[in-house]
Symmetry: C2
Subunit: 191 residues, 2 copies
């Protein structure tokens, strides 16, 4: 996605250790036109995929998932990382090691909002090691739903997440921007 790649080139900051700062467009500030473009780009890439529901993880997955849901006219459910007081009844629960925060991240999805037989598209901000996305995929499997694809705004190819996903799930994975290297203080990004 050309507009996204230009913004990453202009505004992305390599903080070292494979950490990409894109707070100005994804993780703190959101540009509505760019976000609408992301939703349209995901919908286009999964145009031939039957999708009943989009699953994402709070916090930074919510915006791109919602934009895609608007294009596809399907509901979104966002996995919670802490049990809210309003969450009652059975939940699907998985854990994933947190890449940027350290420790284990909990992912909770109420059984009310994920059903057996549904075709589920996962949308998230980053594909790095793939551990959060794998935890979401396990939640889809636990619900008896079908994972039909994975869409991410940014894939960092050098962290191996795509291979880890494909080893377990034979689904299309689309990234809107692909970072092939963050050697030194550079950011190498392509379609």
């Amino acid at each position: 996605m050309k507009a996204l790649i230009e913004r990453i080139r202009a505004e992305g900051i390599n903080l070292g250790d494979g950490i990409l700062k894109v707070d100005s467009i994804i993780n703190h500030q959101l540009d509505p036109a760019l976000m609408l473009g992301m939703g349209a780009a995901f919908a286009e890439r999964f145009a031939d995929t039957p999708v009943d529901r989009i699953l994402t993880a709070e916090i930074s997955g919510i915006a791109p998932a919602l934009m895609t849901a608007i294009e596809m006219n399907v509901p979104v459910v966002y996995a919670r990382k802490k049990k809210p007081i309003t969450m009652s009844g059975p939940v699907f629960l998985e854990t994933a090691p947190s890449h940027t925060k350290g420790g284990e991240t909990l992912l909770l999805v109420s059984a009310e909002f994920l059903h057996a037989g549904e075709n589920v598209l996962i949308i998230d901000d980053f594909l790095a090691t793939g551990k959060t996305l794998l935890a979401l995929a396990r939640i889809v499997a636990s619900a008896g739903a079908n994972l039909v694809g994975v869409g991410v705004i940014v894939e960092k190819t050098f962290e191996g997440g795509r291979a880890a996903m494909l080893e377990k799930y034979d689904v299309p994975i689309h990234a809107l921007a692909t970072i092939t290297s963050m050697a030194g203080d550079t950011i190498s990004v392509r379609e």
Copy 2:
């Protein structure tokens, strides 16, 4: 907003102690058509207000804030509740007691994304005691920006948040749905 009020009447659950469960439309699952309608409704209510930026708080504020930002074509910034590894440089920091989670909630906004002189509209999911919204308003003031209005999806009038806000800030406050009572297991909701 009629469609929202109907959904709250049909799906809202009174969990006691003033806690309203609306996980099926706001806090866990999102309905894209309803969310688009919320964005349009906020934009209409603030049509005569000059807005340069929308400020919200993660997590459940992100979706309505983004929908409003799309209608108004302005950027959104969402206050973080934990410092992400990518947040560097000076931040505006406030705390608010958490209504649904207990304890103190931190609200952090990078000085990069909130500027002196900007007209800032706050959008969030709930107006209850007003403490989170007041903390966001203090961040706007700290930045030297102008608070021009507050929009919430749901106001609970019996928790006094509107009066607490208006005591400090003379700005329009619009709610898309107003809960006037949650006595017993009822939910009294109106425009």
